[in-house]
Symmetry: C2
Subunit: 348 residues, 2 copies
């Protein structure tokens, strides 16, 4: 009960007339300490309102029991859900999570990694920024003997584990679903193709078309930003084509929404005349009056699995040689924006 509320093992040791070493051992339930002493120490610790100083422990042990999580923006549903998953899996193991944002800047990403390393985190989880091209800063993490785990957006770096969904398959499934609904001219609203995830979605789309005997049409592929406005603009663009599409597989729910709004505005009926699938299963997709078909990326699960990979690695002595790549299955949530079966029933 000192002024600043800082009670240390030395305070306890003085009070009980024993050494600080004994207090430390007693608190850690070291079997070499007699039950009598241990009980005394615990009683005194409680009475004096002793709190262990995790900083001191961390300095001594070299393990801070903190991990860093780096994402472009915290307040995106996808990322905050992953963070939640990691926190919930790691919390019970005594870890705290430190959150950083990159704002999609590689420069900031490098900086964040450096400060996290300075803080002695035991590992780093991250989704790379859109502008990330170099990998030196990732290697630094490995050089320090800490594990690095990519989730969703990744780069191939030796020694770095990753947890992603199968974006290729997701693109394939969504496109195949649109085909199954009778769509013949399927457009794709792509994301930044420099990112692996968007490239894979695109390729899944292409493959599905080919597998079902459709010739991919480059005019049907529009690169968009993940925004409602961008989706509406992209619709205007493809609407200038002679042979207009009758479906869109969008790599983003926001562009899908913008597309739907624009299509309705120009009088297109969905899903009768036009089918749409988005991506990410953003909360709003299921709340719409016309719920939007989308691909669920199971972010909570993704976070939990990333955390499990981390835990395996910290416990293992040869952690750096293990490089675990987990690929999760995406789940297509079929909803009204692309589901003609409901509609047909209504017609009958």
């Amino acid at each position: 009960m000192k002024e600043n509320g800082k009670v240390t093992i030395y305070d306890i040791s003085k009070k009980l007339n024993i050494s600080a070493a004994t207090v430390s051992r007693a608190l850690n339930n070291n079997p070499k300490i007699s039950k009598k002493t241990r009980d005394l120490v615990f009683a005194a610790a409680k009475e004096m309102n002793y709190k262990q100083n995790r900083l001191a422990q961390a300095l001594k042990s070299g393990k801070s029991k903190n991990v860093g999580i780096i994402v472009p923006y915290i307040n995106r549903n996808f990322f905050s859900s992953i963070i939640r998953g990691i926190e919930e899996e790691l919390g019970p193991h005594g870890y705290h999570v430190i959150i950083c944002q990159t704002h999609e800047q590689m420069e900031t990403e490098v900086e964040q990694i450096n400060t996290l390393l300075n803080t002695q985190v035991d590992g780093i989880f991250m989704s790379i920024s859109k502008s990330t091209t170099k990998t030196d800063h990732f290697k630094k993490v490995l050089d320090e003997g800490k594990s690095l785990i990519f989730f969703d957006r990744k780069l191939d770096v030796p020694g770095v584990s990753s947890v992603v969904i199968d974006d290729f398959k997701a693109g394939y499934l969504a496109t195949e679903h649109l085909i199954s609904q009778g769509c013949k001219n399927i457009a794709h609203f792509a994301g930044d193709l420099n990112l692996e995830i968007y490239k894979n979605r695109y390729e899944g789309y292409i493959k599905a078309l080919k597998d079902h005997g459709f010739q991919p049409n480059p005019d049907y592929v529009v690169t968009t930003l993940s925004s409602v406005e961008s989706g509406a603009a992209a619709v205007s663009k493809i609407w200038e084509l002679n042979e207009k599409p009758d479906a869109i597989f969008s790599a983003s729910d926001y562009t899908a929404l913008g597309a739907i709004q624009e299509l309705k505005r120009i009088g297109i009926r969905i899903p009768e005349d036009f089918c749409i699938s988005g991506f990410s299963n953003e909360p709003f997709t299921k709340y719409m009056e016309m719920p939007i078909t989308s691909v669920d990326q199971t972010p909570l699960r993704m976070g939990k699995i990333a955390a499990q990979v981390f835990l395996e690695q910290v416990d293992s002595p040869q952690k750096l040689t293990i490089e675990k790549k987990v690929v999760l299955a995406p789940e297509l949530m079929v909803r009204n924006s692309s589901d003609r079966s409901l509609h047909k029933l209504a017609i009958h």
Copy 2:
């Protein structure tokens, strides 16, 4: 460049044949160190890839440059936006944010506070859980000389600062707006009235009614959970009344959405026959085909201001005596679900 990549000031001091103290001073730009030595040290530090150990600094200085943020759930738009605001304001000052969840359990909240204190955070930001009734754990934080700042959901605890929006005013504004649209029988879908925020919204609602000559009707107040289902159920409930309401001020966007869905299902026209306002300005409210009127809580701003309050306190020596209470103005976002002016124009 040792095995584990740990370079300390001692390594630099050995290499340059000077003392570690000099290295430390040089790195900290202590003016007592000659420029020559300083340059040598910086060069060596860079060459050896030296990284300061923030744990050691923290232990020595008593300042970890970490703050804790405790929220019920990370992946709620409102909370993740606040976290973002805090991170963006504190990051440039060298702070890291550690995130914890309570899952609305007071027990967990107490635990999280304890582990954060053990980790020697310099301050704690939090929104209390629904089940929080005691305040002992908050006092502990103050006893340790650290600042505690509530945002949104708070309790009155001496010495604890807070940043909230004026929920009373928000409730008043929303209700008054509904009145201005010609609604005569306005219901309220309330949240957990044990929480100050929901109580204030309710009271703002009551006051607005009275101020405009309406007699509050207890039958029109339904306590709901913040979910779509709960909103639909609440509509069913008020629809059993003889005199049915013609508007709802809902303390949650989710219940507002559920209400809209249910009202549409039973054939009520919105906003012609019925007006609705939600609360929180969840992202989906503006994306709906019938965008939902809602109260914006400006979470980003709230987070930034909370961070500013913290910064003022850590810099001030008598921080514990200052107890700052910031009340932000809410912003009513009027949208189609309650805006009859648009509708009238259409009729003309």
